[in-house]
């Protein structure tokens, strides 16, 4: 059902089910329940390019771009038609231009013929190339986003009026450590962490702040594979002055993935370093 049995246990179960209708019915009943779990995921709109990638991948769609020769052919075809009309009205001068365009048309036709002679393997290779280009474009977009984030961190690092807070790992993550800085001019806070334990898929780190009597979660994050993590939070200028506490907990993502946790849980991962310890 869940696929959570060890291989040898799974084999034993399968062997038993093969000869026991009652157990097989029970398992089927739960298998249907388990199948429903996939329907509990938050529904996201797939990127539009995904459909294009799939249809290009099966050779059912022509790549969004056209070979230059085909573009030229299309353009020259229109131009040639216009010139034909002009030739009839304007006389021999246009005939020279028409002659040139017809030559270009013939050349484009020749290139088109060459393209159509590509065998299936070459066409497949071209389509594969197209898919790769789409993937590369997607990766480029992600890189730009990352670079923009890093640029923000860099700007913060150069801010002379940063307000720093050091956080240290609790017994749940004794090796972990984070620095939180807030820039009054940028109205941005930045959390950078090292040696954070990886989390299971359903858990996420969450940064909390206490403002007066109110505790709010300002952002969630996950560590990279090397245990580092970064989080940028946008806070109004007046907030840090009222901030009396800042800490990080481990929270479970809601099944529907809709909102941040309304209140911090018990699994505190990072707390501010006590002032006397920080001073040393």
């Amino acid at each position: 059902m869940l696929g959570a049995l060890e291989p040898q246990d799974a084999r034993s179960l399968e062997a038993h089910l093969a000869g026991c209708d009652e157990c097989a019915r029970q398992v089927d009943a739960y298998r249907t329940t388990v199948d429903h779990l996939a329907m509990s995921v938050p529904l996201y709109r797939a990127p539009a390019r995904l459909k294009e990638r799939i249809m290009v991948g099966i050779g059912a769609a022509r790549p969004a771009f056209l070979p230059r020769s085909l573009v030229a052919l299309r353009w020259w075809a229109g131009a040639a038609a216009a010139v034909l009309v002009a030739f009839a009205v304007g006389g021999i001068t246009w005939a020279v231009i028409l002659s040139s365009e017809v030559r270009d048309l013939r050349e484009d036709n020749r290139q088109l013929a060459e393209l159509s002679e590509l065998d299936a393997e070459q066409r497949s290779a071209l389509l594969q190339l197209r898919g790769d280009l789409i993937s590369a474009r997607s990766q480029q977009e992600r890189l730009v986003t990352t670079l923009e984030e890093q640029a923000t961190f860099l700007v913060l690092a150069l801010d002379p009026d940063l307000i720093p807070t050091e956080l240290e790992g609790t017994q749940l993550a004794p090796e972990a450590g984070c620095s939180y800085v807030w820039s009054r001019t940028q109205e941005v806070g930045a959390l950078t962490c090292q040696d954070l334990p990886s989390t299971s898929f359903s858990l996420v780190y969450e940064l909390w702040v206490t403002l007066g009597d109110e505790t709010i979660g300002v952002g969630t994050f996950l560590p990279r594979t090397d245990g580092t993590a970064q989080l940028l939070v946008k806070l109004p200028a007046e907030v840090p002055g009222r901030m009396s506490r800042i800490w990080v907990t481990l929270e479970q993502q809601t099944p529907t993935g809709e909102t941040l946790s309304s209140s911090p849980g018990d699994e505190v991962i990072l707390l501010p370093v006590p002032p006397q310890q920080a001073a040393r």
């Binding site: 199948d35 429903h36 329907m39 990127p47 099966i58 990886s198 898929f201």
Partner: protein
Amino acid sequence: MARDQSANDPLGIHAASRSVDISRDAPVDDRSLDYADAADDVLVLAIEKRDAQALEALYDRYGDIVYSVCLRMLGDVQLAEDLSQEVFLRLWRRPALFDAGRGKFLTWLLSVARNRSIDERRSRGRRLRHESPPSPTGEETLAAVPATEGGDLAARADNRIVVGRALATLPKDQRLAIQLAYFGGYTQQEIAKRLDQPLGTVKTRIRLGLQKLRLILIE
């Protein structure tokens, strides 16, 4: 063994995946095929006859939910996109892998997405590959746009809400164990290790959680 699938499908989720009882030998008259309204099984048969429009129709119907399952399990928009592409290309290349006699198409399709995502997680050493911090809502940092429940999605929206709420009613420990097994692809022993709990406790949590979930869904 003859088993009554419908009795185990209280929400009709499997039924929501359009299906008719036809054999693979049944002819598909592509000229008259109404792709928007055709049953899933009919479209799969059309795919066997290399009908690209049939694949496109199934993608339009289930592309978002397949992508969402991959995204939920991997937490990475690029990986989710790549694996979703794989799922539909696999359907195109080997449509006969779907056996209408063993279940509904959507169930099979989502199981392919889930299994492939588990393989990917395992190949990556069970670590998520977040390049940017995701938020539970996902909109901002995952750069994914929550789909509106329009068109065909509306037919399954209620079911999704019911299942989500049913999960939410489980005690946290039971819900976490089930989610680790289903979405994380962990074995019971691995879950026990990760949660620092005895194996028997994890087995009990999963069993009780599934029992309660089943009761809720039946109601």
